[in-house]
Subunit: 108 residues, 2 copies
């Protein structure tokens, strides 16, 4: 996976997920995060993902989708729902999830 997502010309959608981790279950969290990236990439409407985490601080994952219906579909995926619950219960101290329509983009 290239670190920068190769997305088509706008418009398309972005899911911006910003989080602060707890210190609970690092290995299980990393395995689940990898699995979610793998599973997301198999969903209809998936365009790509970008991820960064400052050690001990903020993590940002931005996934890109063709449309809102694809995002809703992915959010309702059974395995993803289980991971979301573990995230709320154990892995995240706090997070913000934003859904945004990408209107313009440029790359260097």
């Amino acid at each position: 996976m290239s670190p920068l997502a190769g997305t088509p010309d706008p418009p398309y959608y972005a899911v911006i997920f910003t989080s602060i981790r707890t210190e609970i279950e690092d290995e299980q969290y990393a395995a689940a995060a990898d699995r979610m990236l793998e599973l997301a990439a198999q969903q209809p409407g998936y365009l790509g993902v970008e991820h960064a985490r400052t050690p001990g601080s903020t993590g940002i994952t931005v996934s890109y989708w063709t449309d809102e219906a694809s995002i809703r579909n992915w959010q309702q995926n059974a395995e993803h729902l289980a991971a979301q619950k573990a995230g709320r219960d154990k892995w995240y101290q706090s997070f913000t999830l934003r859904i945004a329509k990408v209107e313009r983009a440029r790359t260097m």
Copy 2:
């Protein structure tokens, strides 16, 4: 600065800046990045910023703004223009800049 931005209810705008650094001028880059965060926070329409960088890999900075005019204004700021040029010339191997309208958000 809190690591998660406290933004108002949507709609508002997000600038998603994803980058891969070169290995050039770490200290100058860090100083300029800090200065840009400080300067952005003084601009009209600024709502907040979130930043993460995986060491040696992807960096993601998402800044939030009330409207597109505020984003254009910030992009044309003289000190910011100089930093953008240094970014293209020296500091970034590659980057993508996306402008997106945040339509929905939730926080835990």
